[in-house]
Symmetry: C2
Subunit: 212 residues, 2 copies
């Protein structure tokens, strides 16, 4: 079902466009990319590209959504090592694709407007992240930090480090994040509840990504 001729083709083409756009931005960077530039890159005219998306804002929102899907597949599930290590691998990968980081950061700000298509997506993404940590930690953070707050802190550090790194690429995002995670886990529980907590994170991110 749900594969009736032109509809299915439209969806497939749409996915193909997103894959290509993602690849181009990752390899060539985001230099204030316009719809026309993306169109050229994927081999369509500007009008042809917008046939598949309502607007530029929606197009870029979908590109970021697609990236989240990739991150989950590539860094969390493939070898079974999710959680802390998965998160660190995502960050390490980000350091290879400044264009995607810039697009993400830009959207993060523009999505402040509740009318922006990425607004709800970011809300949902953030909520999934927090719930993942909260659920995984449950009652296992003895003298520690509220799981919800912990999640916000980790998310904030990741996003903030990206901003610093965009301006100064010599910033070591992975190393800095590791220092923080080490510090926080050492005070939560001797058995490293934080690490376990993070195991649920990316799974929930995936859910958020495909749901919304």
């Amino acid at each position: 079902m749900a594969q009736r001729g032109s509809y299915a083709k439209g969806v497939a083409k749409r996915e193909e466009i997103l894959e290509r756009a993602l690849d181009v931005i990752a390899r060539e960077g985001y230099r204030g990319a316009s719809v026309k530039e993306i169109a050229d890159a994927v081999g369509l005219s500007q009008a042809g590209l917008l046939h598949y998306f309502d607007s530029k804002e929606q197009l870029f929102t979908e590109i970021i959504r697609k990236r989240d899907e990739h991150d989950h597949v590539d860094f969390s599930v493939s070898d079974g090592a999710a959680g802390r290590e998965g998160l660190l691998r995502v960050i390490a990968h980000n350091a290879q694709v400044p264009g995607l980081v810039e697009l993400f950061s830009r959207l993060s700000v523009e999505a402040a407007d509740p009318a922006h298509p990425a607004h709800d997506y970011f809300l949902e993404r953030s909520r999934g992240l927090r719930e993942g940590i909260a659920a995984a930690t449950a009652s296992s953070l003895p003298g520690g930090i509220d799981p919800d707050t912990l999640a916000r802190i980790v998310q904030a550090v990741v996003d903030g480090l990206q901003l610093q790194w965009l301006i100064d690429p010599s910033v070591d995002m992975v190393g800095t994040l590791e220092v923080l995670l080490d510090a926080l886990s050492s005070m939560n529980t001797p058995t490293g509840a934080l690490d376990e907590a993070l195991d649920g994170v990316l799974d929930d991110q995936r859910s958020a990504a495909t749901d919304a």
Copy 2:
């Protein structure tokens, strides 16, 4: 000296423009503010406003620089309670002025381009922040974190929380930051070296702001 007729007036007017622009953005928010909108707000034509600034980018960069000056005066020096409390007060104030936070976040991303006028300013600002913490802590972080890394983490959390708050204003920036600072200081030294460390932060930020 340095007060020769038209030159002095030009400088004074420039400062007045920045003050006004700052006030307007703080009160009415930043809704993709254009040069024309700022011009209207300060009672000049667009051309009249650009007479004082080379470009839109420079104008906005100066506005942010002016804000840093205000933050320092209003929240760090006035009552002698600098450091941790000063930082928390700045964040609490930020929660009252979404327009300024949005402008700052937007510039943070756009300044990734080395040609952007705010690029060097952000580099300098960040450097001053780190040096402040490093100098204040010196050799007083026993089993703790490298001062430079600590500074990056604190800065990242502040910036990242602002991104979250822009999308969801219910986010408690101050409370979340306090949790992190409490956690970090409890593990550094029994006497709270982190708090002392932060005492040097905003002073250095001022230096950076006026230098560059």
